[in-house]
Amino acid sequence: MVEEETLVKELKSKETQSNAFEVLVTNYKERLYWHIRRIVLNHDDADDVLQNTFIKVYRNIDGFKGDSKLFSWMYRIATNEALSFLKQKSKKLGLTDGEYKDHVIENLQADVYFEGDEIQLKLQKAIATLPEKQKLVFNMKYFEELKYEEISDILDTSVGGLKASYHLAVKKIESFLKED
């Protein structure tokens, strides 16, 4: 894998930008896709958001100061894009955020790209009941196995706060799954 610093330099230079961007997409498309997919749940929506994320990265790379890692910066863009996508979509349908979440979960069972069993469907329902931040932390820690320091960099929250969020989320999900 190309060193991050070199990649950023190449992304900022007009001559090398095109090739460097291809490398960037190859390196991060899957990780960012799954991060987005766990927020928006539906494949087509995840595809839209992923494309918009990379377009934003492409257009704003000159503004990337290197204060955080490139990976954290892209994750932050992907998270913001996914959350605003959900907000826009619920507004378009005239639903509240909560009603829209229920609507997406109901449609999940009929989604051809959801291959989960009954318990995995129930898990998604449980995750949907969590407050936004707990949901993000749970997905990033449990499924994406990111370190607290990395999540802290992406969500701009203290490590202590993240640990509390994660443990609370696990407890809530477990008790939801135990319910009949």
């Binding site: 766990r38 595809d47 291959e115 998604q124 706060g161 509390a164 609370l168 696990v170 799954l177």
Partner: protein, 173 residues
């Protein structure tokens, strides 16, 4: 003769490895013992990731082409001037020069104000809100004695308190 071998440890660990070691172990155990499925159950179309790059490049090209500036033609300039004159004339005529009634803040419906805040990201700080918020209609008890549900309270603290552990909740439960 100088000894080439030293006792210096040639091995290194990633930065912060030992600091986060305990947390990593705890979370691994939590994941192993939690009664939560290990997979989320999502799938993707066949060769989606292989074709993604081509699709993305096409979209970037398309966006770049559609955002090119189209030069204004002389007619549209004239039309723009005519529209401006018409708009000014309409504004002048529509003002009720003799009317005594002026609109004030109280004429605004609450729903309009709420819709404005909903549709515009104003990003006001609490200080800025406090400066304009009329306090006459509120009693101190509105804030001091709220009916709080325990779960809502925990969620609020979790969302807003930076160092959750400092609250020392477990000892006071």
């Amino acid at each position: 003769m100088k000894n080439k071998h030293t006792n210096k440890n040639p091995f290194k660990t990633p930065k912060g490895y030992f600091d986060s070691f305990e947390d990593n172990i705890k979370d691994k155990i939590l994941k192993e013992t939690a009664a939560i499925p290990k997979g989320a159950g999502f799938g993707v179309p066949v060769s989606y990731f292989d074709e993604f790059q081509t699709k993305l490049s096409a979209k970037i090209r398309e966006k770049e082409n559609t955002t090119k500036v189209i030069p204004l033609n002389p007619y549209s300039k004239i039309m723009a001037i005519a529209a401006s004159v018409a708009a000014i004339a309409f504004l002048v005529l529509s003002i009720d020069w003799n009317g005594n009634e002026t609109l004030s803040f109280t004429d605004l419906a609450n729903s309009d104000i709420e819709a404005y805040f909903e549709d515009n990201e104003l990003d006001l700080s609490t200080d800025e809100i406090a400066k304009v918020l009329p306090m006459d209609g509120y009693e101190l008890n509105d804030f001091v004695e709220p009916q709080l549900n325990e779960e809502n309270l925990l969620d609020y603290l979790n969302e807003n308190v930076e160092d959750f552990e400092e609250l020392n909740l477990e000892n006071n439960e």
